[in-house]
C-alpha cells in the first residue's frame, strides 16, 4: 500500500530536484557571465575584440594587456600602470581596517561589559553614523583634514575611512559581545585581570568569527570606495578605484578594452581573494550573534 505511493513521491522528488538544479545553474551562469567576459577579453589582443565576438575564447592567448595595465598603461597624464595606485590602496586599506576593527572591538567590549549611564545613547549615536550619507560629510571632512595637515595624503584617507567604519565595526562587535557571558568577565575580575587583560585574554580569543566578518566588511568597503578616494587624494595618494577610472577615461589614442578589462580585474582581485579565503567564516560569523549556543 505504502510502497507504490512512496515510489511516486521519490520520482516527483527527483523531477523537482532536477528543476531546481537547472534553475540554479542558469542563474549561476547568468551571474558569472560578466566575469567570464572580462577574463576572456583581457587575454585577447585588441584586434580580436574589435571583431565583435565578446563571448568567444581568445584565438591567440596573451598576457600583454595584464602587464600593460599593471605597469605601463597611461593613467591620467603619466604612463605608470596601476601598480603605484594599487600600492596606495594597500597602504590605505590595511591600517584603516586594522584601526577600525580594533577600536570597534574595544567599543563593543565597553558597551556590553563595562556599562555606564547613557551607554545605549552613545551606542545609538554610533549606529546613526552608519546611516549618514558620504556626501554630507565631504566638506566638513575636507576642512578637518586641512586643519590636521593631512589633506591629499594616505594617512588622511586612513583617518576618514577608520572613523567612517567605526559605526559598523562597533555595531558588529557590540552585538557579538552582547551574547558573550558576563560571568566570564566577572570571573576574570575576581582572578585579578585588568580591563585590557580581560579583553585580550578572555574576549579576543573567542572573537574569531566576528573579526573575520568585520575585516571582510571593512576591507571590501574601503578598497571599493571611490568618493573619498577621489575627493581627498592628491597625485601621489590616489587609490586604485580612482586610478582605474583614470585608466579607462584616458582619452589619448585608441581605447584598449583588453587593458581596461585586465585593470578592472586587478582592482577587484584583493576583495575577491579576501572573500574566497574567509567567506565561509563570514556567513558563520553573521549567524553567530543571531542564534545562541
Amino acid at each position: 500500500m505504502s510502497a507504490p505511493s512512496q515510489d511516486v513521491a521519490t520520482r516527483n522528488g527527483v523531477f523537482v530536484r532536477a528543476l531546481i538544479y537547472a534553475l540554479l545553474i542558469v542563474f549561476a551562469v547568468y551571474y558569472l557571465l560578466p566575469l567570464y567576459v572580462m577574463v576572456v577579453n583581457s587575454l585577447k589582443p585588441l584586434d580580436e575584440i574589435r571583431q565583435g565576438n565578446m563571448l568567444a575564447l581568445p584565438q591567440q592567448w596573451t598576457i600583454a594587456p595584464w602587464l600593460s595595465a599593471w605597469s605601463t598603461a597611461q593613467i591620467g597624464v603619466s604612463p605608470t600602470g596601476l601598480k603605484p595606485y594599487f600600492l596606495n590602496s594597500v597602504l590605505m586599506v590595511v591600517p584603516a581596517v586594522a584601526i577600525s576593527t580594533v577600536l570597534g572591538a574595544l567599543n563593543g567590549y565597553v558597551l556590553t561589559k563595562w556599562r555606564f549611564k547613557g551607554d545605549n545613547i552613545v551606542f545609538g549615536m554610533m549606529l546613526l553614523a552608519c546611516f549618514i550619507p558620504f556626501q554630507i560629510v565631504l566638506i566638513p571632512s575636507a576642512r578637518i583634514l586641512g586643519l590636521l595637515g593631512l589633506a591629499g595624503s594616505v594617512p588622511g584617507l586612513i583617518l576618514i575611512h577608520a572613523i567612517y567604519g567605526l559605526g559598523f565595526t562597533t555595531l558588529f562587535f557590540r552585538n557579538y559581545y552582547e551574547a558573550f557571558p558576563t560571568e566570564l568577565v566577572r570571573a576574570a575580575q575576581i582572578d585579578g585581570a585588568s580591563f585590557f587583560q580581560i579583553f585580550r585574554r578572555i574576549l579576543l580569543p573567542s572573537s574569531g568569527p566576528i573579526i573575520v566578518v568585520t575585516v571582510i566588511w571593512q576591507f571590501t568597503n574601503i578598497w571599493n570606495d571611490f568618493l573619498f578616494g577621489s575627493s581627498f587624494s592628491s597625485v601621489d595618494s590616489i587609490p586604485i578605484t580612482v586610478a582605474l577610472n583614470n585608466l579607462v577615461n584616458s582619452s589619448t589614442g585608441v581605447k584598449e578594452y583588453n587593458v581596461h578589462f585586465a585593470g578592472a580585474i586587478l582592482a577587484a582581485l584583493p576583495t575577491l581573494i579576501v572573500y574566497i579565503v574567509s567567506g565561509r567564516y563570514f556567513v558563520r560569523g553573521l549567524m553567530a550573534g543571531a542564534v545562541k549556543g
Binding site: 566570564l184 566577572r186 570571573a187 582572578d191 585581570a193
Partner: protein, 371 residues
C-alpha cells in the same frame, strides 16, 4: 565578632531598592546559605560581597576589615558561578592557573598548586582538556578547583548546582559539604533550593523582596519560623498553614479547626502562652508540619503534648518511605505524614495525632509569629 559581617547593607538600582538594610554575619569556618525565591536579592547580596556590584550604603567587613572600596581581586574571596564561567579558550589547567598567572606567580609554583587541587577534586586526567570537552559535573569540579586554588578567606557560591541533573546535584552537594568539613573555610552559598540550604548550612538567611526575614541555624529556621513566609518556604512538603480560632473549653484554651460537613476539630492546648491567650476568640493561622501530624502509632513518643482526633482522609499518596495523606481542615488541604505501612484508605475516616509541641501560630493580618 563574626568573620564576615554585613552591616545594614542597602543596594539600589536607580530608584529600585534591591536590598533593604540587610544585617548578618558568619563566624570563621561557617557555612552561610542565602535562600529565597527568585528576585529576592540573594544573588545581588552575594555579588556585593564579591565586589562585583557597588553598594549604596552600609558596610561589609571580612576578618574585621572594611572591604567596601576594595576591588574583587583584593578581597581575598573566590567565587563559583552558576554557569561555571570557565574560560572557553583555555585548558582546564590554564583555567585554574589564570589567577595565579595574572598575579605573576612563577610557573613551577603554579603547576604545583594546580596539581594539588586537581588531586583533591580528582580532575587530574582532565587538565589538558578544554571546557567544551567536559561534562556538566566535570565543569563544576573545575570551577571549584579554580576557586580552591586561591586559598581564599571566603568562598562564594552562586547557585552552583542548579545546572546539574537531579542525581548529580545530590552527589555534588555531599561533595561540597565534605570539602567544607575538610577545608574549614568560610562559605557563603546562594540557592533557591531550601533542601540544599537545610543540608549544607550552619546558618541560613531567608530573604524576600530584599528584606532579611530570618537568620539562624537550620533547626531554628525549620522549627521556629518567625513568620508565615519562612514557615511556608522552608520544608518539603511545606508546613500546613490552616485558618483557625482560639477557643475555650472549661479553663482550657483550645484551637478550633473548621471542617466541611462536620463539627470543628477542637484541640486542647494544654496551657496557652500569654501571647496566644490574648487571641482568645480571634482568628489565627495554625501551622503544623506534615511530620507532626501522623497516625497514632507513628507519633513521636517523647513529645509532651499529643492530641489524637478522627479526620476524613481525602487523598492518599504513598511515597515509598512514607505515606502522605491529605485531609481537609479549615477549608484547606492538610498534609499528614504517616508511616509507610499505615492502614489508611481514601474516603474513610482515620485517627490522626497532632504533635502540638511542634505547632506554631501566626497572626493572619501581619503574618508574624504569635507563639
Amino acid at each position: 565578632m563574626s568573620f564576615l559581617e554585613i552591616d545594614n547593607l542597602e543596594k539600589s538600582f536607580g530608584t529600585t531598592r534591591i536590598l533593604k538594610g540587610v544585617t548578618l554575619g558568619i563566624e570563621e569556618g561557617g557555612f552561610l546559605v542565602l535562600v529565597g525565591p527568585s528576585g529576592c536579592g540573594k544573588s545581588t547580596l552575594l555579588n556585593t560581597i564579591a565586589g562585583l556590584e557597588q553598594i549604596t550604603s552600609g558596610e561589609i567587613r571580612i576578618a574585621g576589615k572594611r572591604v567596601n572600596e576594595l576591588h574583587p581581586s583584593k578581597r581575598d574571596i573566590a567565587m563559583v558561578f552558576q554557569s561555571y564561567a570557565l574560560y572557553p579558550n583555555m585548558t582546564v589547567s590554564e583555567n585554574i592557573g589564570f589567577g595565579m598567572e595574572i598575579r605573576g606567580i612563577a610557573k613551577p609554583e603554579r603547576d604545583k598548586a594546580i596539581a594539588e587541587v586537581a588531586q583533591l577534586l580528582q580532575i587530574g586526567h582532565l587538565l589538558d582538556r578544554k571546557p567544551s570537552q567536559l561534562s556538566g559535573g566535570q565543569r563544576q569540579r573545575v570551577a571549584m578547583g579554580r576557586a580552591l586554588v586561591r586559598k581564599p578567606q571566603v568562598f562564594l557560591f552562586d547557585e552552583p548546582l542548579s545546572n546539574l541533573d537531579a542525581k548529580l546535584r545530590i552527589d555534588m552537594r555531599t561533595e561540597i559539604k565534605r570539602l567544607h568539613q575538610r577545608m574549614k573555610t568560610t562559605i557563603v552559598y546562594v540557592t533557591h533550593d531550601q533542601i540544599e540550604a537545610m543540608t549544607l548550612a550552619t546558618k541560613i538567611a531567608v530573604l524576600k523582596d530584599g528584606v532579611l526575614q530570618q537568620f539562624g541555624t537550620p533547626a531554628e529556621i525549620y522549627n521556629n519560623p518567625v513568620n508565615m513566609f519562612v514557615a511556608d518556604f522552608m520544608g518539603s512538603p511545606a508546613m500546613n498553614l490552616v485558618p483557625a480560632t482560639i477557643g475555650q473549653s472549661g479553663s482550657e484554651a483550645t484551637v478550633e479547626l473548621a471542617r466541611a460537613g462536620a463539627a470543628p476539630v477542637s484541640l486542647a492546648l494544654n496551657g496557652a502562652s500569654d501571647a496566644l491567650s490574648a487571641y482568645r476568640g480571634k482568628e489565627v493561622v495554625f501551622g503544623i508540619r506534615p511530620e507532626a501530624l501522623t497516625d497514632p502509632d507513628g507519633a513521636d513518643r517523647n513529645a509532651k503534648h499529643l492530641v489524637t482526633t478522627d479526620c476524613h482522609i481525602e487523598v492518599v499518596e504513598p511515597a515509598g518511605s512514607d505515606t502522605f495523606a491529605v485531609t481537609n481542615l479549615g477549608g484547606k488541604g492538610v498534609v499528614a505524614r504517616l508511616r509507610a505501612d499505615a492502614r489508611i484508605k481514601p474516603g474513610a475516616t482515620a485517627p490522626l495525632t497532632f504533635n502540638l509541641t511542634k505547632a506554631v501560630f501566626f497572626d493572619p493580618a501581619t503574618q508574624e509569629r504569635i507563639a
